[in-house]
Symmetry: C2
Subunit: 430 residues, 2 copies
């Protein structure tokens, strides 16, 4: 049975806090293994990559076949059905259009003392994109990671994807081509992360690594952080649906199950002011579970992590939503805009009854890489900003140095930094 809470129950605050604090992820301690692999790749380069790929992916490669060739791409394009290719192109165009609006402008100005100030944005020169192998090789994730990088102006986007037993999802290659990925290598695991961070004979290093992966990949990313930048380490996916009583329970059930089918650790929560809708959604979930291809996964997620919370008002629902800080927030209500203004912490919001979250996973335009596990309280989804960096600028002439210098010297002296003070004072008489 799914967890049911009601705000009017005396123990509600305690139960809600338990929900907030629940850890859905089992963290495996694989750091030592990942560290060993990274060290080996740093020392032996391609030879280590080839050895690990033989061991883990049962695939024998040479330096010359680490990289996916033009022939491989051509074969993949032949294998992809026309409707899937069209859907990928449609998705790519919409993601590109949304992310293009995110590029910030440089700034340069002169203040009233004549000091010139500003900032410049530049793209990261080279970025690595990790794509998991097997069933988790989602072409949509290739687009969501690679398109913003290319919109940002990253010159070199390098993708790695393990191909167990030599099998690759052709949609991943087609998505990579569409997104403008420059190089693709058939490697995975901590060894791929190491190759991207430190380089080998065949693979030049990148400056940042993004993309999802298993526990070994996550551990490897944490270990190479500093040598390169990394994106967030994503946890299991989650949705919070805020619904009034006028919803079709089957629609809401489908949305809850769409999240639940990702992973047994995924979380789907319904918050509603209608006890009747709550009952009917529970029944609809049970009904739909019987006909889902990933029904067992979805059932386990719903049973172990799902929740239905009954609230006295939709305003109260938004307070709980802000405390939960959901990755995805659906506002399935008559007037979603009235609730939107109350949203403080959420990765992405889906407004109204006709905006299921799954649209955002593929073709909405906004990114589907979003903060999980309440981290929307302090972080954002993937965007063009993850692929650019800012350099600030300052330019003084002799007159400006005389205007700003005395305060700088005073502060340097209070902090005991004599050379700081001298580097200003020595210039003040010229």
């Amino acid at each position: 049975m799914v967890t049911r809470l009601s705000q009017s129950d005396p123990g509600f605050e305690e139960d809600f806090r338990a929900l907030l604090g629940a850890k859905r992820e089992v963290s495996e301690d694989v750091e030592a293994v990942a560290r060993g692999i990274i060290d080996d790749v740093r020392q032996r380069g391609d030879a280590a990559l080839i050895a690990y790929t033989s061991k883990f992916d049962r695939l024998d490669l040479a330096s010359a076949t680490l990289r996916i060739s033009d022939d491989d791409f051509a074969a993949a394009e032949r294998d992809v059905p026309g409707d899937a290719l069209d859907a990928l192109k449609f998705a790519k165009a919409r993601i590109e259009a949304f992310h293009s609006r995110q590029m910030p402008a440089d700034d340069r100005y002169t203040d009233d003392l004549g000091v010139e100030l500003g900032l410049r944005w530049t793209a990261i020169e080279a970025v690595g994109l990790y794509v998991p192998g097997g069933t988790a090789a989602y072409p949509s994730s290739v687009l969501m990671n690679a398109v913003p990088a290319k919109v940002a102006g990253v010159e070199r986007v390098v993708l790695t994807v393990p191909t167990p037993d030599g099998v690759i999802n052709p949609l991943v290659l087609v998505a990579a081509r569409l997104a403008g990925v420059d190089e693709v290598y058939r490697i995975g695991g901590a060894q791929a992360v190491a190759a991207l961070a430190y380089g080998t004979e065949t693979i030049r290093p990148v400056a940042k690594i993004v993309g999802p992966g298993n526990a070994y990949v996550a551990a490897a990313k944490r270990l190479v952080f500093g040598q390169v930048g990394i994106d967030m380490i994503a946890g299991p996916s989650e949705v919070l649906v805020v619904a009034d009583g006028d919803n079709d329970p089957d629609w809401i059930a489908a949305d809850l199950l769409a999240q639940a089918e990702h992973d047994t650790a995924a979380q789907s929560i319904l918050v509603t002011d209608s006890p009747d809708l709550a009952d009917r959604v529970i029944a609809a979930v049970e009904r739909q579970l019987t006909t889902l291809p990933r029904g067992e996964i979805a059932a386990a997620s719903w049973r172990d992590n799902g929740a239905i919370i009954l609230v006295g008002s939709l305003a109260a629902a938004m307070e709980l939503s802000n405390r939960l800080a959901p990755e995805h927030l659906e506002l399935a209500v008559a007037e979603p805009e009235a609730l939107l203004v109350r949203v403080r912490n959420a990765g992405s919001v889906f407004l109204g009854r006709h905006t299921p979250e799954a649209i955002g996973d593929y073709v909405g335009g906004p990114n589907h890489v979003l903060p999980t596990a309440r981290s929307a309280r302090f972080s954002s989804g993937l965007s063009v900003h993850d692929f650019i960096k800012r350099t600030t600028l300052l330019k003084l002439g002799p007159e400006q140095l005389r205007a700003l210098g005395p305060a700088a010297i005073t502060l340097a002296e209070t902090e005991g930094l004599g050379a700081h003070a001298r580097s200003v004072s020595i210039r003040m008489n010229r």
Copy 2:
């Protein structure tokens, strides 16, 4: 003797790579200690804070005296000389003016299919600012961290600062007041980080922790990451000065020493196309070292980590600069703008002969919290962006769902996600 490299030497590339790869920081393995302290604060709250403060800071507190009182602030204000107060106010106003220009605008638009899209920026609700105690308690750093948070709209900025033997730098309190900090607690170390992340009876938790600290503080920040956001873990400071032959060697020497005096692990590098300037700067450094209050620290930094690189042209200097990705880059040349366009990787640039880096430490306006250890290749200095987060928006009506739905269903089916497809298809006939 300082390291000297010349681009015309046959072994240059190897020597330069060694400089790039040099680790200046000794990383202490203090994670286990930090973890124990965090666990204790989570269990015992204020009692643990009081015990650690007694042990490490030799200061006996009670829950009621953890927080700095209005009387403490009043006393600090009496202790700060007028010129220092004026300098802090001047710095605060300039930092505020620069950072106010960074606030991005929300976006909301309707595309040609009638899909409504957008994004909203919201401030993080509560932020903790760690300030080191003793001689490293820099009031300038209080301003550089707290002012952007307040410009971003953070409602609650909480500062912690250890006060060994009960001694506090009054300038830190005055800077906190000026910057609009809401609460100040006299605690430090991993215990302060734990209190900010998890809360105690007296201290409510925050959503993000920023600010510099020692190895224990850095380890604690890494451990609480996920529970809260953290800023970058800063390494030793560094400057790269690109100078032509027309510079006063004493000015350049003062700039190199201003960086060197921070820390024996700090790094100062001069890149010049003038062998004569190189010789004269070396002599000026030796001369100035004898009269510096922190001369021993600066001498050790210059000897162990300093470098002078002779290049064939200023264009070549910029290529090396981009590979080094310096935290601070001074362009002490006749036409700095001509070099600026070649800057790809740098935290902050100081243009022309009259813009010593020390101005930027205090009163320039741009932030002095900047990426170190080559991380300017993939990251940026502290800014308003570190205190806000983005929520993306999507809104479809029935017509838009019919337009976007088929592609979403196709992609969901190729990824084997049946409930995703159903959550779209179930709405398409209405």
